[in-house]
Symmetry: D2
């Protein structure tokens, strides 16, 4: 990573925002969940927090939005902590799938487990592992702590909207149950999964979460260990190979920062040992990733030399 002055960093961020705004019209907000379709596509914000505690924010950084699939990183981390990696990875794989996030084809053809915890089938399986060990309120508390944001709550309107448009996820959950991959009640898994997706965050919350992963699980603020180093390593690696749906490979080449996206428009990006980056930009590309967010990250990666192999 390049060393820059505070002023230079701010300038880079302003420029990144400007670059991002240009491509907003090329994307669309998610519409498969009606509530998500009501969002203003022009919102765009980014927050960077450094290991030294500096915070840089530009754009719509205080706007709350639903975390959606980014919660998969939290659930994976908690499941690894509570159940151990052996149990988790005997239930869900670690391989990129090459398929869309909600495909059932591979799961039906390859009978034993979902490809990875970042696609819906894998994440639902992860929730089912958590259920015997932690309640939703436990999970909410973990999320608040990991994100250093005590304001996080469920966005009720989005939760209701998702639950009433959950046919495909229910299909996935029942397929998992029919293959004995999940042992809990399907409804319980669906409720926990959908609640986790409906948590309301800001780009700042995501930047804090990213920094926690970057620092190997030790809170940069309090010095307290919240997650084990091994769990952080696993989560970061899987974000690298599987974090951007079926655009993960290209993103790794182009940007090279472990990142997880959500259809709410969020991006969680980890610059290992250095920075946490959180982005909000609800206009999505065809693969479901924030279109302006990707442009901003590419710009930052180039300017600040953040690519893993830069």
């Amino acid at each position: 990573m390049k060393k820059l002055s505070e002023k230079e960093i701010k300038k880079v961020l302003e420029k990144a925002l400007e670059e991002g705004r240009k491509v907003i019209p090329d994307g669309h907000v998610a519409t498969y969940i009606p509530q998500l379709g009501l969002v203003d596509p022009n919102l765009l914000g980014i927050t960077i927090v450094t290991k030294d505690g500096d915070v840089y924010s530009v754009g719509d950084c205080d706007t709350r939005f639903t975390i959606q699939s980014i919660s998969k990183t939290i659930s994976l981390a908690v499941a690894l902590e509570l159940c151990g990696r052996e149990e988790v990875f005997s239930t869900v794989g670690m391989e990129p799938s090459g398929e869309a996030f909600n495909s059932m084809v591979e799961l039906d053809l390859n009978s034993n487990k979902p490809y990875n915890p970042m696609i819906n089938s894998g994440a639902i399986a992860v929730e089912s592992l958590i259920i015997p060990k932690a309640s939703f309120s436990d999970m909410l508390l973990y999320t608040k702590r990991f994100c250093d944001d005590m304001e996080i709550t469920i966005d009720d309107a989005t939760y209701a909207s998702e639950m009433s448009h959950s046919s495909r996820n229910r299909a996935i959950a029942y397929l998992l149950q029919s293959k004995d991959i999940i042992k809990t009640d399907v409804d319980d898994s669906m409720v926990l999964y959908t609640r986790m997706c409906s948590l309301s965050v800001t780009s700042r919350s995501l930047a804090n979460l990213a920094l926690l992963f970057a620092m190997g699980g030790v809170s940069p603020k309090t010095g307290e260990r919240l997650i084990s180093a091994e769990t952080c390593r696993i989560v970061k690696t899987i974000m690298m190979t599987c974090g951007m749906y079926d655009g993960s490979g290209e993103f790794a080449v182009e940007v090279g920062i472990p990142t997880k996206s959500g259809v709410g428009g969020g991006l969680l990006s980890v610059v290992d040992k250095e920075l946490g980056i959180g982005i909000y930009g609800p206009s999505l590309d065809a693969k479901g990733n924030s279109i302006a967010g990707k442009v901003m990250l590419k710009y930052l990666a180039d300017e600040l030399e953040l690519h893993l192999f830069s």
Copy 2:
């Protein structure tokens, strides 16, 4: 069809039964629904009814068993009568699938409709078309009339067992809902589908149903038209191309009698304009078809010249 004396036909049936019994040990009763696994695999019976009203029965012809997938022919017939072929075939296709009866792969890849009404996805879609037009008690009455068997009821133990092992069918139903193929409540569709599968019949009931299809929908007993000729033609053709799961093509070549199987061990075979054949033999081959039943039908087809192209 060969013309034989009553005595000759009886002898052929006895010999068929004998041939069938030899292969019973090569198969297994269905076990994916626990209740089906309790059945005695050695049961075997066949009933033939002729257009002239003669009835020939050998073996376990009075044993009741659940109709399972054979009910798909009844539901298809009723849906065609109540909704019209246009509505039915805009919801479900007519093509053999080449896949197992409960595959979701093709449905997920090919988005618009299930391949045909004889696989689970297609049958569940058919039930959802029926729901606004007929209740289960209507359907039960249709079944009793078509089978000329007023004793038909739900086998409660099997129904309960199926409902508690219905994850895969629920997965299919939710996938159908997510693609807007079914518009009714998933639970309603599942209940109607599973109830229809749990109806308790005998080989005689099936033989009567087969004869009704063979006679183009006119009751051979009362002369009353119960089903239109066009509906019967459609059902018979789809039985020919899709009736034996992913063994349909081979069965058409080997035996050449339009037949629908059920995992309860039943076979419904239509010798057009001549005979109805009903079989019960719960030992199944790897594709889910009665193993002894197939041998008996092959024997009958050869001896009585029943192959469509014999």
Copy 3:
């Protein structure tokens, strides 16, 4: 089948031609082989020959066109005669595939054999069985005899055009070789397969071939047995379930006459024990079947009661 006078039959044929012509503009000639793209889409002809030797022809009945996939019925028949059904069906299956005629997906997923002899993979496998037992000139002689047409030759321009656009079929052939399904040289199989597809016939030749199958393999003219009854039964059944590519199921329901199509515009239709029908209409529907030919067959099936279950 309805009994009609000669005059009535002619009238029905004239009307069928008229109905067929209406839909020609809804289709397109095949273009994936450039030579086929040069054909006049408005050509349309039909020939019916009866078991009593009557011949009815209307439209473009003397125009020669390439037989294409219809040759798969001849190759299957010859392979069954020369190698026996056991060898043939241990190499190729009998199940409809639900996929397009040139798909490789199922073959790669399901490793042991092509679904059936009417799709390209299955037909190439059949040619490889024939190669050790018969030369192309043998095959040409069989074809001439079966079609009672001594004028049949290779259409050299089409053959050359197909050979230079055979990448996909070569891909299929090498995949078959890699799975040990074909043991002969890939080039030899490709040459025989493509030559058989390039044979030049008329609707009259096809009607004769269809009648031969209808009569169980005995030449209606000479009384000589050219093909065994069992082989004819197999070919007719497979035409019924697999003859119209991934439109086979719908065609069976709608028309109910065992038929094989070719992308050259030909249709071979067998009315068992009664008629042979040959059609030429190069304007194809989206599945590769003669669009006007299908309309004509539907019209004939209704008027003459030719549906298997009519």
Copy 4:
């Protein structure tokens, strides 16, 4: 990376070799190419070269073996240099496939391009891009220079063996041609592809190549730029996400060093900016990766803190 003394590094390497040897019996040498099946499975060697020019070798480091799929990194690098990334990635994707290295399923279903350049279809497509710009002798020269090994030649016996067992790769190549993905002659592509796979290297050659990638394309010996930094970044990223066939995701989590394997038993591992590692261990796991090599790399990653996110 941990800083260790020369003596400590040697000790770690000895221990790694010992660990690796334990698992050799759990794997098997590749047998789908007969010549590879003749190799002694107990061979095992590792070479590490550092940016400072130190070289550490233990085990069978002078044994030559065929580079196989590891050549895909060289071909990708050359194609990027000669054709530019735009042309390369309009022909082949960057996404992990989730499928075995020689699957054709996704390519047939997803029509436009192979998933990535590390699977056979992608690599054959890359060779076809190179053909108009570089001959095999050019490629050999590139390889010698990149590996700093002037002794590299084709292993003729392996080349001959592969060419006579190339049906599946030919199937892939013809499928690529049928989709217009490759424009060159199939035989030319097959020859170049197979020649590149048949190049004979040592663990030392691979370590040199790895170090070249680690140093961003500048020869650590001469200071000469052999490959652009951008090309190196792309190759390293794709090695990270796709380098270990359908075990890439798990390997990234467990070991976290960008690595490419070959069925000849080689492993090429890049510790960015620090080390090049080359391994030879022909006993393979079920996914085609050196079973002892993986254990050695895991051991080294733990001991020397080489995981990308350690």
